[in-house]
Symmetry: C2
Subunit: 191 residues, 2 copies
């Protein structure tokens, strides 16, 4: 998606270690009028696919998933990092390794919110190695639901997580796929 | 707001210790088509108030703030619980006590995202003792910005946080204010 690639080139900051900071519009400040255009694009891409629910993971997926849900007219469920004292005991559960924070998060979704009838579109801000997405797919499968597809704002193509998911037969639509980035020359190449 | 009160009576679950669970539509599953009506109502209430930015706190505020931002046509900034390894060092910072998790969270907002020119509407899903909201007000003040007001889905009026904020001169609009709730008789009285 041209619009998103241009925004990444304009406002993204490349840090050493293949870190791309887009916190001015995607995951600390959320430029909602702009993100709305991404939500609309997900709806265009998945126009012919039945979707009953959008699944994401806290925290940075919630904004883009909620805005996208305005176009799909469905509820959002967000997977929670287990810790809440008034969290349901009856949950789907998986472990997700976070490279950003170098730790394993235990992630839960209440069994009340995904059922075998659900056709679930998984939305997140980033896809890199794919650990978070694999965890969310696992949760939909525990529920007996169907993964309608995955919608990602920014995929780091060179980290391979997206292609692994595609090879497993899941439809993955990323609005911008970075093939190569370099913090010294400050250049980004898109797929 | 009648619509929200009815939804609380229909789907809210009262637990001992004045806990109201509304995770089926507000803060685990987010019923976005429904939450959109709350966003529209915030816009109606603050129609005459200039708002340049919406501020909330992760995680459960992000959904309602992002949906409301669709009506205000402004960005959302969400305060982060400090821990991220690629978090900016140049941040506004405060401590917020969480009764739910019985711990103090260090909460940060990058200085790049609130400026003295900003008129900030603070939005959150719940207001009880007011600690989280006081922390967000404090962050806006550190930035030299103006608090345009506060918009809350559900206020627990009997815990006093909302009235304390109002007494301090801040406009607080809560779409449903619970005056009394009882887990034995399963009754809720609204203000």
């Amino acid at each position: 998606m041209k619009l998103l690639e241009e925004r990444i080139l304009k406002d993204g900051v490349i840090k050493p270690g293949n870190v791309l900071k887009v916190d001015s519009f995607l995951n600390h400040q959320i430029d909602v009028p702009f993100i709305a255009k991404l939500g609309e694009e997900f709806k265009r891409l998945y126009a012919d696919t039945p979707v009953t629910k959008i699944l994401t993971i806290e925290s940075s997926g919630i904004g883009i998933a909620s805005v996208a849900a305005m176009y799909f007219n469905v509820p959002v469920v967000f997977a929670k990092k287990a810790s809440g004292s008034n969290m349901d005991k009856d949950v789907y559960f998986t472990r997700i390794y976070s490279y950003t924070h170098n730790k394993v998060n235990e992630v839960v979704v209440s069994k009340r919110f995904i059922s075998p009838e659900d056709k679930v579109l998984i939305i997140d801000d980033f896809l890199a190695n794919g650990c978070a997405l694999e965890g969310l797919v696992e949760i939909v499968r525990q529920a007996g639901g169907t993964v309608a597809g995955i919608g990602i704002a920014i995929e780091k193509g060179f980290q391979g997580g997206g292609d692994k998911l595609r090879a497993s037969g899941i439809r993955v639509e990323s609005l911008a796929i970075i093939e190569k980035m370099d913090s010294q020359s400050k250049t980004i190449e898109f797929r």
